[in-house]
């Protein structure tokens, strides 16, 4: 066991001793923190945020019923009435915009956004009732499903789930989690890049360093070292994931607090039929981030072993990143659905509600099954293939 510990430490050291790994991680970290700070800064340099925390924190936990909507409308109306000089001219030509600005000033921007994201019209926010709010949610679930190319049966299944969500839903000031989920998408991209930089040389560098012959001719130079390399690579990938995920959650908590863990996810994704809390969704996505990073790590190792070139491995990943920029139209059916499972989209929570064929699998479940299955197959392939490695002429 001590031999394996020595090998594991050495392999981890080989990966983490590269300057490029730390430079890429620091740049990604800076990006995550910058996005977090930019969001905060865009929210009126935090003035509105602090006001919101106070106003919306006070109504967190209340049911979003008619009484709640009346309270919202009356608070905004009060703001409009108390500051006519600020809003009167705007009210004349864009009532919805005036209402939005008044909601912001009243410290209710996050609540306004929840309502707006559901009714999808500034004018509709002005006098929306609880019944209209939930009816619109239901209609959007149906139209979004059909737009995604789901069958009517699939959409009906979604609606049945949505009907099981307890209504009126409970409001919670959950801005930090919403931002975390937004930034997760960026983290997904950063992880592909960071893991590729860190692990593209795991097997290829042995050829570059001309150490492959010595390793392969040693007693533990076949299956044991391959398993150790896999373990060290996964550790490095997980370290990167946890650093990025932790810093993202940390900065959002710092700016927006930690409220909203137990709120229903409709606060964040109005057109979701799922009956789960935001906290559960965060845990699901944290798990998915971990699984994705393991999958990316294994993919890198396989490419590194097959190509015997860190540059070629990086080039293939650059291609994957580039291809990930394109969308496949939903009218292409199965291809479009599979394309949504690509690495760059794995942590995009906007597809969380996408559920397919008779509700058997949703995007997260499909991604989990696909990444887990492929990871196992690729590890088996890697171990068997590495065991037969040869050193050809250089």
């Amino acid at each position: 066991m001590s031999k394996m510990a020595v090998l594991y430490k050495a392999e981890l050291r080989k990966i983490l001793s590269k300057k490029s790994v730390w430079i890429a991680l620091l740049l990604s970290l800076a990006l995550v923190l910058l996005v977090g700070f930019t969001n905060f800064s865009a929210d009126g340099k935090g003035v509105y945020v602090k006001q919101q925390e106070k106003t919306l924190g006070a109504i967190s936990g209340q049911k979003m019923d008619d009484e709640f909507f009346e309270m919202f409308h009356s608070t905004v109306q009060k703001e409009l009435d108390e500051h006519p000089d600020q809003y009167n001219s705007l009210l004349e030509y864009d009532r919805g915009e005036a209402y939005k600005r008044a909601a912001e000033s009243a410290g209710m921007k996050a609540l306004y956004d929840v309502i707006y994201n559901t009714v999808r019209s500034k004018d509709a926010v002005i006098d929306v009732t609880a019944d209209e709010f939930y009816e619109k949610m239901r209609k959007d679930i149906e139209s979004d499903g059909l737009e995604l190319g789901c069958t009517q049966e699939e959409v009906d299944e979604w609606l049945q789930w949505f009907d099981k969500v307890e209504k009126p839903i409970e409001y919670s000031y959950a801005l930090s989690y919403q931002n975390v989920l937004d930034v997760l998408f960026i983290i997904g991209w950063a992880l592909i890049l960071n893991i590729a930089i860190a692990l593209s040389g795991v097997f290829a560098d042995e050829k570059t360093h001309r150490t492959d012959a010595m390793i392969l001719s040693a007693k533990n130079g076949r299956t044991p070292i391959c398993l150790v390399k896999i373990a060290a690579s996964i550790t490095a990938a997980l370290l990167q994931t946890l650093v990025l995920l932790g810093s993202c959650i940390g900065i959002e908590f710092l700016f927006y607090g930690a409220d909203g863990w137990n709120a229903p996810i409709q606060i964040i994704i109005p057109s979701s039929p799922w009956n789960i809390t935001i906290g559960e969704m965060i845990l699901i996505y944290a798990g998915l981030a971990i699984l994705s990073s393991i999958f990316f790590a294994i993919t890198n190792m396989v490419l590194s072993h097959l190509t015997k070139s860190a540059v070629a491995t990086m080039a293939i990943h650059a291609g994957i990143i580039f291809a990930g920029l394109f969308n496949v139209p939903s009218k292409l059916g199965l291809i479009a659905k599979l394309w949504q499972l690509r690495p760059s989209m794995a942590l995009y929570y906007g597809t969380f509600c996408n559920t397919y064929r008779y509700g058997v699998f949703n995007n997260v479940e499909l991604t989990t099954i696909l990444y887990l299955g492929l990871s196992i197959i690729l590890v088996l392939f890697l171990v068997l293939s590495y065991k037969k490695s040869q050193v050809q002429s250089r």
């Binding site: 001590s2 031999k3 394996m4 510990a5 020595v6 090998l7 050495a10 050291r13 080989k14 001793s17 042995e206 360093h209 001309r210 150490t211 492959d212 012959a213 010595m214 390793i215 392969l216 001719s217 040693a218 007693k219 533990n220 130079g221 076949r222 070292i225 490695s389 040869q390 050193v391 050809q392 002429s393 250089r394």
Partner: protein, 234 residues
């Protein structure tokens, strides 16, 4: 204790690098001489189990070259010895010792002993990237003998060594050859003429001479040059 090569052949698309070589090797120092491109490195890689022969077999005490236990009996210094620039000499040897299956405490003891033997004691904790060519080569030799191999394959081991180090190294090889099969590949005749118990000469993938130095009635270098048509580079 016998290393058996039975009709070992390595054929690439249009070239036969090693052509049906059959030899039985017993403990002692075996000098493998041949010009560049004669097939020495290919043969050594096959003996090390890192290159599959196109045909033929290599076995040692009933174990095939692809067996884990065969590799356990093997020590190998490749011609182009590689290393990790950011590892210290000690780190590198500990890593290689773990690869060779040595326990940590045994590995530590063995590494210290070998660093002393190859005169790298004072540089043990310095990064390998700061080592001279000769120091790197000595480190390579140390890693090859970490597991007290029964089969020791040394491919051009003296390149980069100064004359004093060469002598020191020859003595070490002669010592190791008492208990192990040491195959020392070189194209420098003087590397093997004083220590080799047996000489194998390779040309174009074939063994053109297999015998003891005493079988040769003239100076080895002269004999070698004669066999290779007067020039080592042919």
């Amino acid at each position: 204790m016998e290393l058996i090569l039975d009709r070992v052949t390595k054929q690439y698309a249009s070239k036969i690098a090693v052509d049906r070589i059959t030899v039985n090797l017993k403990p002692g120092v075996i000098g493998l001489l041949g010009a560049n491109g004669a097939g020495k490195t290919t043969l050594m890689r096959m003996i090390c189990g890192i290159l599959n022969p196109s045909s033929g077999t290599i076995s040692f005490e009933g174990m095939d070259a692809s067996d884990e236990m065969y590799r356990d009996a093997l020590g190998y210094l490749p011609q182009d010895f590689g290393y990790y620039p950011n590892f210290t000499g000690m780190d590198f040897l500990m890593y290689m010792a773990a690869l060779k299956g040595l326990d940590k405490s045994e590995a530590k003891r063995k590494c210290n002993e070998l660093l002393k033997t190859v005169n790298l004691e004072n540089a043990a904790n310095k990064k390998i990237k700061t080592y001279s060519g000769g120091m790197k080569q000595r480190l390579g030799i140390a890693q090859a003998v970490l597991n007290d191999p029964k089969i020791l394959i040394l491919d051009e081991p003296t390149s980069g060594l100064d004359p004093k180090e060469r002598v020191r190294f020859r003595n070490l090889i002669a010592e190791l050859g008492k208990d192990a099969i040491v195959i020392l590949s070189t194209h420098i005749v003087s590397d093997v003429e004083h220590i080799a118990d047996r000489i194998l000469m390779m040309k174009e993938g074939n063994i053109i001479f297999d015998g003891n130095i005493s079988d040769i009635n003239e100076d080895l270098e002269t004999f070698y040059l004669k066999e290779f048509g007067g020039s080592e580079d042919e």
